[in-house]
């Protein structure tokens, strides 16, 4: 196998890795917001359910969760799971990362001093205005470093999709390594992850800088 063929074969896997990454970020970040709001709900049972959800998502390996999302519908309901592989992967990643993001958001929200709410209340801001104008921008600034960490972890975690034999870049690297008896595909995958994370870190650093105008 020439290096060119290897790279073009793995390029396909890189696209698939990117697909998992972007779709997971796209869905899990807003979902995390909803989970966080439910987690802070005043209705106790809702709080419990969300707490259990977060505990399960954080307390079990993501690989197991992916298997459960993919095979669950068949074993629980007897539904056909043909053609469902990619959906299951996105579901698994999204639900898992939403739990982590929810906790990051919660930490961010709880770090905002009560005085900010009180100042907004006395000035007559509505609850929604208070959240979006006063609290959220400050929360985003505080949580950015943790979010960056989480997003970088996600880039590397995409390789767990191999559990469902989705040929993202790492699964392809394994396959080519087996057939070529060579470490080169791993090096290619390593360089890919490194560059991807470098880009992520670069973008996040830019965003952090954009928020640096105040302390």
């Amino acid at each position: 196998m020439s290096l060119y063929t290897m790279l073009s074969t793995m390029a396909d896997g890189m696209l698939k890795t990117c697909a998992i990454f972007f779709l997971t970020v796209l869905f899990s970040m807003p979902l995390g917001m909803i989970v966080m709001l439910l987690r802070r709900s005043k209705i106790k049972p809702v709080q419990w359910i969300v707490k259990i959800y977060i505990a399960v998502m954080r307390g079990t390996p993501l690989m197991l969760q992916l298997l459960a999302w993919y095979f669950g519908p068949y074993y629980l309901f007897g539904w056909s799971i043909r053609g469902y592989r990619f959906t299951a992967i996105i579901l698994g990643f999204t639900m898992n990362y939403a739990a982590y993001f929810a906790e990051i958001y919660r930490g961010g929200i709880e770090s905002i001093p009560n005085g900010q709410y009180e100042a907004a209340e006395v000035l007559g801001y509505s609850k929604i205005q208070t959240f979006f104008k006063i609290i959220l921008p400050q929360v985003i600034k505080t949580i950015l470093p943790s979010v960056t960490n989480e997003v970088i972890t996600l880039v590397k975690d995409t390789s767990l999709a191999f559990a469902l034999a989705y040929s993202e870049v790492f699964a392809l690297a394994k396959q080519i390594a087996a057939s070529q008896t060579s470490f080169t595909p791993y090096v290619v995958a390593g360089v890919f992850y490194f560059i991807a994370n470098y880009v992520v870190a670069f973008v996040m650093e830019r965003i952090e800088k954009a928020f640096n105008y105040y302390k």
Partner: protein
């Protein structure tokens, strides 16, 4: 009468913090509330500004009811929309300033008038610059709170409260979080407001300031008003033993 509070009671759990407090503030009056920590003076202010809900009693702003008491003796607040209207009658300056750190000085001042009161932009900005001038901060309009000293931040907070054109301004220990050399500039601003006949209620530990600026001093201890009246009388010739003791401790 700008503010009228009658028979205010407030408990945190089994601890009764306000025991049947009544207080009236007339237009143009400057009232200082003094007393040891834990006396309930800050809580009284927080109840007046609806940051805490009272258990029983009545609150009126410019004779409009905000809280009344039903037959069972429990406090009943007016509807949220009504209450929000009444919130525009007062402003509150916090001990910790509580400026919005992500907004510039100017935006801190104009944001609520623009987006809560929805007043015209030109007018709001012009007034804001006027207020900053009054606070000797006109050249810091574009700065962010973190770039200001504590005294400057507190003056911005006062400007922010004034931008809402309140009928009455509350101060909750406005200089307690400041370094001693910075308290002066804040007190100077409050003194200037007093000269302009701004109605104010100031919870403070600055006794000389309270004596010099206020029309009336209220001494609170253990949830009750122990003594109140002309500052010269309260400071100069206190009637109650507890007041004497407090002032004596304070001078030491």
């Amino acid at each position: 009468m700008v503010l009228e509070m009658n028979g205010i009671r407030k408990s945190f759990g089994s601890l009764e913090v306000l025991k049947n407090i009544s207080m009236q503030v007339d237009s143009g009056e400057v009232v200082s509330i003094i007393g040891p920590s834990g006396s309930g003076k800050s809580t009284l202010l927080r109840c007046a500004t609806f940051l805490e809900t009272i258990d029983s009693g009545e609150i009126f702003y410019t004779d409009k009811p905000a809280v009344t008491t039903n037959e069972a003796g429990k406090a009943v607040y007016v509807k949220a929309a009504e209450l929000n209207k009444l919130k525009q009658k007062f402003g509150l300056v916090f001990q910790q300033f509580n400026l919005f750190p992500h907004y510039s000085v100017l935006k801190n001042i104009v944001d609520a008038p623009l987006h809560v009161e929805k007043r015209p932009k030109d007018e709001v900005y012009a007034e804001a610059m006027e207020l900053l001038k009054k606070m000797d901060l006109e050249n810091r309009a574009k700065a962010y709170p973190c770039q200001l000293s504590g005294g400057q931040q507190q003056r911005v907070a006062i400007a922010r409260a004034l931008a809402m054109k309140p009928d009455i301004l509350f101060f909750d220990e406005p200089t307690s979080a400041l370094d001693p050399e910075l308290t002066g500039e804040v007190l100077k601003v409050i003194r200037r407001l007093a000269e302009e006949k701004m109605t104010m209620v100031v919870v403070t530990h600055e006794m000389p300031f309270a004596r010099a600026v206020s029309n009336r001093v209220i001494f609170m201890d253990q949830g009750v008003i122990v003594e109140q009246g002309d500052p010269e009388l309260v400071f100069g010739a206190p009637q109650q033993e507890r007041t004497k003791q407090f002032l004596r401790n304070y001078q030491q």
